[in-house]
Amino acid sequence: MSESIDRREFLKLAGLGGAVFASGLAGGAKFAGAAQDDFYFVQLSDTHWGFNGPVVNPDAGGTLPKAVAAVNSLEYEPDFIVFTGDLTHTTDDPKERRRRLAEFRDIVKGLKNKNVRFMPGEHDAALDNGQAWKEFFGASYYSFDHKGVHFIAIDNVSDPAARIGGEQLAWLKSDLATQAADARIVVFTHRPLFDLYPQWDWATRDGAQAIDLLMPHKNVTVFYGHIHQEHHQMTGHIAHHSAKSLIFPLPAPGSQPKREPIRWDPAQPYRGLGFRGVDAQVQKAEYEITEYPVKKA
């Protein structure tokens, strides 16, 4: 039995309360990448360090450390870990913003795996165009390659109007030009690139331009945050998967008049919170996602 099968079996049998979601991508058999290995990464999102709201999370100061401990306790160590934005909760005070970013950074230093990628959310970056965030975590958009997959991090939050912007779109176009039409491409971003529910600001104003640039590529998957819940949607052949939050869940898009956090349920603490593991089966072009709660039931 290969390690990847062992890991998949582990994910299915772990009993961590999350539904397993598998997303197959078309054209996998034709993939001609040089380095093709299965691998595994973890996505955490919307930790909102500094949030204070006991009604929705009385353990706001403890949830992130618990998540770090939960990642560290995974039986299989991920190849890397990515945080897809809203690391901190917004504040109008630049000093307080930096204090929260520093505290967040220090907490996640506790992750055993040191290959950690970060992205900003609008709470981190929109009020100063990402200035403070970049002081701590560097470039807000970038790409990297890992075991035959090309990863692209798109910043759609440093502009307070939720635009990717012409400069970054030009960079995205040139970055994609280096990739074959059948290359495995995974995009990380904070906001949905498509109009999920603009009435709740669940959109990127020029996200359609990014999707247009991605469309010629056959094998693209997007992982994002922002909406504090799992959501899976296709735009053409591109799959978009949003992640749970690690501070409070939000209601399903348009399911109620206002976008208000779901209240903490003492009978089911941490319900709706969690992180995900993504098992990338490159040769089979499948991404198997597992949702984890902060604490085991």
């Binding site: 917004t90 109007a161 109009d195 603009p198």
Partner: protein
């Protein structure tokens, strides 16, 4: 006499059209609703309109750059301190619809929204 009054009215509408710049106005003169955006609320929060009756929404703010977005009617505007932002809206459906600030403007931004009520 009646002809002269109509010409006078037509001239007045033309002047109004010029004054509003890029916004194209139809006759008769349209109702203007002024909305103030401030941290972190629209005043008024509730806007009542009639289906098919055009209105002009005027937005001002004394705080920071904000946005107005009513996705169900596909209208939006940047609200810039010291300027008046205007959008023309002709409600084509009845019901209650959300409008929101779509430019992240501070601590309370995410609660900055209101409702447009459209009746027949």
């Amino acid at each position: 006499m009646k002809l002269g009054r109509r010409r006078l009215l037509a001239a007045g509408i033309a002047i109004a059209g010029v004054a509003f710049g890029a916004v194209v106005f139809a006759q008769p003169k349209e109702k203007v609703i002024r909305v103030t955006a401030r941290k972190w609320v629209f005043l008024p929060r509730e806007i009542r309109l009639k289906k098919g009756v055009p209105v002009v929404l005027e937005f001002v703010t004394a705080d920071v750059v904000m946005g107005f977005n009513a996705p169900d009617f596909n209208v939006r505007a940047d609200i810039i301190p010291g300027q008046v932002a205007r959008v023309r809206l002709v409600p084509d459906k009845t019901g209650t619809f959300v409008f929101l600030c779509d430019i992240f403007c501070g601590d309370g931004h995410e609660g900055m929204s209101g409702q447009i009520h459209v009746v027949a």
